[in-house]
């Protein structure tokens, strides 16, 4: 009992113990046996003047889109949204718009928390483990870029 016969088993039990001690998560799970899949953020309201900034599209393309909305599209205000890593880019776009308008455009930034859902799918289909979901929070920013009223 003191000396485990099968080395593989002893390693497994040790690692499981270490894991349980170091991260006291509410859901007991072994990260090796699950695949983490991130769902897309929830579908959000989209008006014509809403721009959702991501990190996949080219920065200049997203900036040009915003400029087109404000100059050609005839919108008095647009809303730029960024989530997580894209917050920086959203701020950058808003500040670039403001700079290129020679300070005419004004910015109003709001922050919020967005709830995201991860799916945990068991890797081993033989084991009777159920797929799980886990929610986490991420920060988001919503910047209103607008021409101030003349009065």
């Amino acid at each position: 009992m003191m000396e485990p016969r099968i080395p593989g088993m002893s390693i497994a039990s040790q690692s499981a113990q270490v894991h349980a001690e170091s991260t006291p998560v509410t859901v007991e799970m072994d990260p090796v046996e699950y695949t983490l899949r991130k769902r897309l953020p929830r579908k959000l309201p989209k008006r014509r003047n809403d721009v959702y900034v991501n990190m996949k599209t080219d920065f200049r393309a997203q900036l040009a889109r915003c400029q087109k909305l404000l100059e050609g599209g005839g919108h008095r205000e647009i809303c730029i949204h960024g989530l997580g890593l894209a917050i920086n880019r959203a701020i950058n776009i808003a500040l670039q718009l403001q700079a290129s308008s020679q300070g005419v455009l004004q910015l109003a930034a709001n922050t919020s928390t967005v709830e995201l859902v991860d799916d945990l799918e068991p890797d081993d289909p033989d084991e009777a483990r159920e797929p799980m979901t886990r929610t986490r929070n991420n920060s988001a920013i919503h910047i209103k870029v607008f021409y101030p009223d003349p009065q």
Binding site: T23, P24, V25, P31, T35, L36, R42, L44, P45, E77, C79, G84, L85, I87, N88, I91, N92, A94, L95, A99, Q106, L107, A108, A109, N110, T111, S112, T113, V114, E115, D118, T135, R136, N137, N138, S139, A140, I141, H142, I143, K144
Partner: protein, 211 residues
């Protein structure tokens, strides 16, 4: 730094402003000597001088920041007077962390009014060539920065970037269909904050390389 100024580096700096990134010139030939941030004027009007100001950097630990800030904001039973307002500010890679801190802070201490301001911050980096005798350069960068004021007392609702406390947090311009789903309160119990547990989870889950 003074030594570098004397080598006539400033004269060279103009041609390398903003567009030239030292890495394009072969970063191995350069060594970062100093990095100075120009804080500029305070973007939030009417801010008190002795306000509690949290500078969030890219490597700051959210747990440390929040423990300090909430202790100062909630120090009512202790002898020292509690702060009514706190400013979180960060730039570049610290912007996301700044917003996260603010969001957690609002959840821990209810009824906080918020004003957020965006601006560009100028960062001057001084690079020195590793080869002897070669002139160094100074690089001027503009990085996005955010300042967020949280206040227990009501703030000017007309100020751009104002957000009322969480219960009424749907922005006016979005009306009924608004961003209500974005503004859901946290699921967990708000009373007890388990930063040690929450933060590593939060950040590792966010990073694209996790698992």
């Amino acid at each position: 730094m003074r030594f570098l100024h004397n080598t006539g580096m400033e004269a060279r700096s103009a041609s390398f402003r903003s567009l030239f990134w030292p890495s394009n010139l072969g970063q191995s030939n350069f060594k970062l000597i100093s990095r100075s941030e120009e804080s500029g004027p305070c973007p939030i009007p009417g801010l008190a001088e002795e306000i509690l100001h949290m500078w969030v950097k890219e490597g700051s630990k959210i747990h440390n920041l929040l423990r300090f800030a909430t202790a100062r904001m909630e120090a009512e039973d202790a002898n020292k007077a509690s702060q009514r307002q706190v400013v979180f500010s960060g730039s570049g890679g610290g912007v996301t962390k700044t917003i996260t801190c603010v969001e957690l802070m609002k959840r821990r201490i209810g009824g906080l009014h918020q004003v957020s301001k965006l601006h560009y911050k100028t960062v001057t980096e001084i690079w020195e060539r590793t080869q002897q005798g070669a002139p160094g350069l100074s690089v001027k960068k503009t990085v996005p920065a955010i300042w967020i004021l949280l206040s227990k007392d009501p703030l000017d609702a007309q100020e751009p970037g104002y957000q009322p406390p969480q219960t009424l947090r749907v922005p006016a311009e979005d009306g009924e269909r608004g961003l209500r789903m974005l503004l859901q309160p946290a699921l967990g119990p708000p009373a007890k904050f388990t930063a040690k547990k929450a933060c590593p989870d939060y950040w590792s889950a966010c990073s694209p390389h996790s698992r």
